[in-house]
């Protein structure tokens, strides 16, 4: 279901829990699919004893992928024109992340109606792990 410009208002929000109790297995799956095999994301021994981290943590791109799931669920498939994020905090196994999109404005762009969204993903402690923005084509 696509969004409709006539029914969108600045300040409207949509949020989803995009992962509940993040597992190390999912980090391995993401490494395998994405091709990013950095041991920081799969190798606890390396993290603790060589890299100086308490353990493995999620790929930034996994946080973006999880946030993207909320985004495409909200705007519909094939509707994104732009999607960008900043990674503000690391994501750890056991984390539960909630991703939220807030409507900034609806405007015309290249003959289409588009919605501009502000994005934020927070962990179970309310700490922001991803901030970003997206532009998506919407129906009139």
């Amino acid at each position: 279901m696509a969004l409709s410009a006539s029914q969108l208002n600045a300040g409207d929000t949509h949020e989803e829990v995009v992962v509940d109790d993040l597992t190390r297995t999912q980090l391995v799956m993401y490494s395998g699919a994405s091709g990013d095999y950095n041991p920081l994301h799969t190798d606890d021994l390396y993290c603790k004893e060589a890299a100086g981290y308490p353990g493995v943590f999620a790929h930034g791109m996994l946080s973006m992928g999880l946030t993207g799931k909320m985004l495409t669920n909200y705007v519909g498939d094939g509707r994104l024109k732009k999607y960008g994020v900043r990674f503000t905090n690391q994501v750890w196994p056991g984390d539960t992340l909630t991703a939220k999109a807030t409507v900034v404005e609806v405007r015309d762009e290249d003959g289409d109606k588009v919605v501009e969204l502000a994005l934020e993903t927070v962990n179970q402690d309310g700490k922001t792990v991803v901030t970003g923005s997206a532009t998506a084509r919407v129906d009139p």
């Binding site: 699919a33 091709g35 390396y46 060589a50 999880l66 732009k82 994020v85 990674f87």
Partner: protein, 161 residues
């Protein structure tokens, strides 16, 4: 400048990628369902383009036989010298979509260096940022996706307190 990378887009790779981000939307794996949607075919999740790493023959974050690898084996790290920095982290990622990817696309990805800059931080010391632009063109030479990534190297591991 790095050589162009050839990236074939395949249905099974899209399915694995969607699984890894926990996205069970059938448009990423079910062709029959995808035909009934507005787009009309299987598409890739929005962050899929970064899986171009799989097709970069020299990607430095992939273990290879007969090459030194910095992850653990017998020891916490298999390289003799301690790395000078704690390694790179991803700071920012931006995509612009000109059309949706579909299985069968044969992409050519051109990598262009962007800006570099430095910043001081309380949590990780000196931060060195590097921007990379990637342009994804299809089999017809049309620009499909533009990606801008910012990587950061930290002077020390990020303080967790």
């Amino acid at each position: 400048m790095a050589d162009d990378i050839k990236m074939p887009v395949e249905g099974s790779h899209i399915m694995m990628f969607a699984r890894s981000v926990g996205d069970e939307n059938p448009i990423y794996h079910d062709e029959e369902y995808a035909k009934t949607t507005e787009v009309g075919h299987i598409i890739a999740p929005p962050t899929f383009p970064r899986a171009v790493a799989q097709f970069d023959p020299d990607y430095f974050l992939r273990w290879r036989p007969s090459q030194e690898w910095f992850g653990s084996g017998k020891n916490p790290t298999s390289i003799s010298e301690k790395p000078k920095s704690s390694g790179g982290l991803h700071a920012e990622q931006h995509f612009e979509y000109h059309r949706q990817l579909k299985p069968g696309d044969q992409l050519t990805v051109t990598v262009k260096p962007g800006k570099t800059w430095e910043k001081e931080s309380k949590r990780a010391g000196k931060l060195m940022f590097t921007e990379t632009i990637q342009e994804y063109r299809d089999q017809n030479g049309e620009l499909v996706i533009t990606s801008r990534g910012v990587g950061v190297k930290t002077e020390r591991p990020v303080d967790q307190s």
